[in-house]
Structures are given as structure tokens and as C-alpha cells.
Subunit: 83 residues, 2 copies
């Protein structure tokens, strides 16, 4: 069976996000001063061939831990759905 | 009122995603050959001060169009929720 995973990898709250800070500053110049506290991370989609959803989730978790996220600076969330 | 927006900015389907391709290749070396077709975009969170949800959505849309996404190569989706 094929599954689709959607993963968000974000800088941890305690970690300064300079890209987000820069974008927050730019919002003012665009006339969007109501927008605050921009934080920028990664959104990753992938396909998994697995027998069931539990295995697909485990594989996604393994990919996040070993490759997609830097656990010192980033945290991740994901959801897996049948494709 | 304060709202929270979650935005996904992804490379369009027709556009080659070299970062995603490289990560897909690395999955094999990690023993995760079941993972295919990795695509990598941005996940952005921000806060908006607005009178109601419709205004908050309009402001988010404006930010996406004018700053956060490159509409030639990327598409975006977002949801706005009360904070």
C-alpha cells in the first residue's frame, strides 16, 4: 500500500530564527504591520510503500530522526494518510 | 483579536526539486528505500492582529503573494485559526 506523509520541521521555540525575524521586519515595509512573529521551517512531503499505516508512520519517524530534522535545533510533526 | 496562520509553500509539481531529489537518494543509503518522491518546501507560521478571521485570511493571502511565495515556481496553501 502507498501512503503519503506530510512533515513539518520547525526551529525550536528557544532557538532564534533569523530568517523569520528578517521576514517579520519586511512585513512592515509591505504595509502588513499586523503580521508578527514569523517563523520559517520546512514542509516535506513524501511517499512510502508499506504494509500498513503503523509501519508507514514508523518509517516516517525514522526518516525525520535520521535525516530530515536536526533534533538539537528543530522539532518535527507529521501525519501519514493512505495515498 | 489574534490569529495564527500556518502556511505551506511548495515547489510546483512541474518544477524539478533538486533538494528533494537529493534527499530521496539519501533515503536508500539510510535503509529507507520504501520512501519515494520527497519534495521539500517551506512551512511558515505567523501571528496576525485582525478584527476577524476573514481579514486575517486576506492579510495572510497578501503576505503569501507579495513576499512568502514565488508564484512562478511555488504554490501555497494556508489555514488561519484564532490564537
Amino acid at each position: 500500500m502507498k501512503f503519503l506523509a506530510e512533515i513539518d520541521v520547525m526551529p525550536k521555540k528557544e532557538i532564534l530564527d533569523p530568517q523569520g525575524k528578517a521576514v517579520t521586519g519586511s512585513m512592515k515595509n509591505l504595509g502588513l504591520a499586523e503580521i508578527l512573529n514569523v517563523r520559517i521551517g520546512k514542509h516535506i512531503t513524501l511517499e512510502i510503500e508499506a504494509e500498513n499505516e503503523a509501519i508507514a508512520s514508523a518509517k516516517t519517524e525514522e526518516a525525520c530522526k535520521n535525516l530530515l530534522a536536526n533534533l538539537i535545533m528543530e522539532s518535527y510533526t507529521f501525519k501519514v494518510i493512505p495515498a
